[in-house]
């Protein structure tokens, strides 16, 4: 092997490995987006449960977030991937639906979503609590049903408070996809490793993958900044800024 990079290895068409990397990157994006979306859904439900739910719901959610935040993502991924999908397919078999087949992408999305969900729960809980209670009370005083209050007032009003946390979660989601390399899901990191193994150009492929991740982070940063500025339009600090 040489230290001089052979950039022809990155060409899109074979024998270049560009396509493999891009497909891996695409998988990473799908994973991150799917897991993030699932996490946001779990997070909103979890936050609502923690704030408005019964004692038992609250405690269970507390256990969920605590376990997720105390156990390494890598371990959680293994646990959810092997144990989770096994339990799921056993449950469905027991219910007479036959074995469910969970493909790698779905499993990966579920795993990342569950991990993200715990953090998102905390993000949304904090954000909802940052909404002055009077605004929610005003909505109730106008006869809005609970779900409508949530949809029309609580969620949009908490968005500016949640966005910084949500931006961070997205960054974490994109990076956590790399962990799925460990269960053999061919996302960007594993693709880079396979390419590197086949060509022995380790430095080249890992640096390329790193650049892709970094580009994703930087672009996401810009987008989130924009969205945040938009969401903060109505807030006082927007005036000061």
């Amino acid at each position: 092997m040489t230290t001089v990079f052979d950039f022809s290895l990155l060409a899109y068409d074979p024998p270049g490995w560009g396509r493999v990397l891009l497909v891996g990157f695409w998988h990473s994006l799908q994973l991150a987006a799917g897991g993030y979306f699932l996490g946001v859904v779990i997070g909103i439900l979890g936050a609502a449960g923690k704030l408005y739910g019964g004692k038992v719901v609250r405690d269970l959610l507390e256990v969920y977030t605590m376990v997720i935040r105390a156990v390494p993502e890598l371990v959680l991924i293994l646990l959810f991937y092997y144990v989770g999908t096994d339990l799921l397919s056993r449950a469905s078999a027991a219910l007479g639906f036959g074995r469910v087949d969970i493909d790698g992408l779905t499993a990966g999305i579920m795993v990342i979503g569950l991990v993200q969900g715990a953090y998102a729960t905390e993000v949304f809980r904090g954000a909802i609590r940052a909404v002055p209670f009077g605004q929610i009370e005003a909505a109730r005083a106008f006869g809005m049903p609970g779900a409508l209050v949530m949809r029309r007032v609580t969620l949009p009003a908490m968005l500016p408070h949640a966005l910084p946390g949500m931006a961070n979660l997205w960054m974490i989601a994109t990076k956590d996809t790399a962990l799925l390399a460990v269960i053999g899901f061919s996302e960007l990191t594993l693709a880079a490793r396979q390419a590197a193994g086949a060509t022995r150009a380790y430095l080249l492929f890992f640096l390329t993958a790193g650049a892709l991740y970094l580009a994703l982070t930087l672009i996401s940063n810009v987008i989130f900044k924009r969205v945040e500025r938009r969401a903060r339009r109505g807030l006082v600090s927007a005036r000061q800024a």
Binding site: P132, G134, Q135, E137, A138, A139, R140, A141, F142, G143, M144, P145, L148, R152, V153, P156, A157, L159, P160, A231, R233, G234, L235, V236, A238, R239
Partner: protein, 274 residues
Amino acid sequence: MQQQAVTGDVTQPDGTAPSATAPAVEIRALRKSFSGVEVLKGISLTARQGDIVAIIGGSGSGKSTLLRCINLLEKPSAGEIAIQGEPYQLRPDKDGALVPVDRRQIQRIRAHLGMVFQSFNLWPHRTVLGNVIEVPIHVLKMPREAAIARARTLLERVGLGDKLDVYPSFLSGGQQQRAAIARVLAVDPLAMLFDEPTSALDPELVGEVLSVIRDLAAEHRTMLLVTHEMAFARDVATHVVFLRDGIIEEQGSPAQIFESPQSENLKQFIRSVA
């Protein structure tokens, strides 16, 4: 709830019997405890259509709690409340509070009770116009176009015709409170509830808001108004209710209350705020 049995029925300013208009808000034997401490100790009160009831009293006397019970933002411990003749259907829960039997009844009634808060509580993520059309569209299911047209008129009326697309946090306190009033007017409320609508405002802004309320009073809208502005209460109220320590200690026309207070406490209160 039987009309004639209502105690503490508000008498007309001239001290004659109640006029013939229908009751808009009726409260009977209302009690409210916060974790064991009784804050309202049996309040009965009727406000008829067009009545403007000023609720006065010292700090902690239960004024806000009374007002908040009227649209069930606080769950009473005992008693009955009826809006426009329709009593809330309540049942006691295990903590001893009265909770709605049917949430939808409460929501339906609430939609026609406009509450104006001390701290405005506009929704900061919507423009002024957005705040005003929110409830008509999403709760009252009014067509969007109609809601906007009406909101424009109302905002024009409270002097915010040029602030439609501004976000609330860019308004002064007085403007925010006027927007909040417009938001309440947009549901064409059976009764309006004001909880110290000017006490969070700088002195120079109070006037703006009071003059808007004065205009509303001139239209004979039913209003219940907690206020510390005695001059204003005397001026616009048709009835004044003096609350002390969770009971109505005295009530009557502004003239009765302010010129010839009976109880020692009311006398002292009027002295202290003068």
